[in-house]
Assembly symmetry: none
Homo-oligomer: 219 residues x 2
């Protein structure tokens, strides 16, 4: 069985990356075998199970005794969220919380290009519920997000024709470290990103989707 670490290595040394044509467009993608996918899936399932058990345990334990002092410790009080006021020793740069990020990404993916002044206000209001944030932050975020998304596409496109005619042994398909490409059409069509993101949402106390049993049904 190919374990995930080895798979990762393979990705590095001998990238499973190749050019594919989907819906008439050329894009660079990672390729996994069923086996690799299965391995990954199992590993995620293991994490999910462990997390569930641990959370459950924690609940039990902390219910039995009210250790107000310890109680998840610093986990509850993210300094970023808790302390909005003092900037003495901390940084002045805003950092989105994961919740905020997910919301932002979702909005971005909806393709409503330029978030108008109106929208910005709205979004900011919504995000405020999940942490310190200002309209400027939101504005900047969209600005940056779009710009970088764009640049990445160009990069990928460029790497397509760069060494078409050169002599070097560098193969076209092997671009060492092209990060995430962002073809929006695909993004919305099959939002693994969103699915994966939700995998990690522990906000729901019941954690229905973390049930290990539901994962055992295949192959």
């Amino acid at each position: 069985m190919v374990n995930a670490m080895e798979w990762q290595k393979q990705q590095q040394q001998n990238p499973n990356q190749q050019r594919n044509v989907i819906a008439g467009e050329i894009m660079y993608v990672k390729v996994m075998t069923d086996e690799q996918l299965e391995t990954l899936r199992k590993q995620i399932a293991v994490y999910a199970t462990i997390c569930e058990k641990l959370i459950e345990m924690h609940k039990t334990l902390s219910a039995q005794q009210d250790l107000a002092g310890i109680r998840l410790g610093s986990m509850y009080c993210d300094p970023l969220m808790a302390s909005s006021g003092h900037k003495i020793t901390s940084r002045q740069r805003w950092t989105p919380t994961s919740v905020q990020l997910q919301i932002l990404e979702r909005i971005f993916d909806q393709g409503t290009g330029t978030p108008s002044k109106e929208k910005i206000k709205e979004i900011t209001a919504e995000l405020s519920k999940h942490g310190q944030i200002s309209e400027t932050n939101v504005y900047n975020w969209f600005q940056n997000r779009r710009a970088r998304s764009k640049r990445k596409q160009q990069n990928v496109a460029a790497s397509n024709n760069t060494n078409t005619n050169t002599e070097s042994e560098v193969e076209t398909e092997v671009d060492s470290k092209d990060k995430k490409t962002k073809p929006e059409e695909f993004q919305s069509q099959q939002s693994l990103a969103n699915v994966a993101a939700q995998n990690v949402c522990f906000h729901n106390p019941d954690l229905p989707y973390l049930n290990p049993e539901s994962n055992k049904s295949d192959s």
Copy 2:
């Protein structure tokens, strides 16, 4: 509901599965974009962090009160878990060959401060002859080189100049390293730890944007 299996299902439904020819053989494989892969990587990292935190918490709690009721038991050493760890999450990164480095340094020393996009392309092309490289790599290299060069100068100037308390700001980078050695300490910096902390806040009522239902934008 949205678990690993679900994701797998979606993979099957969607045309992300296609026929590829590798090494002369036809095989069916799963296809992911770089972005999806990166997202997955992050998600797994979040799981890893959550697990660590929870285990840590558990230790603290059960150390204070020895109720031998639940205990992690065998959960700690799941074979699958053990074999994989969360090392899956490592990410590759470009490293310049010595030849490339020499060339880069030489160009940098020529003082042509801003390597325009034009230049970048040129340089990249040149460096490609000596090893795997992309324009982004070159761009980043110059960015970093300049920034760090600058910082060093400032450091020297500042230390010449006096204040015993300036160090806190100037030595940011050094400090961050120190913090890393003490994972127990809470840090006011954004990291997966915080991401995990956010996600693990199960006291948060509901999150409309994260509702799986609202994710059904795709057919």
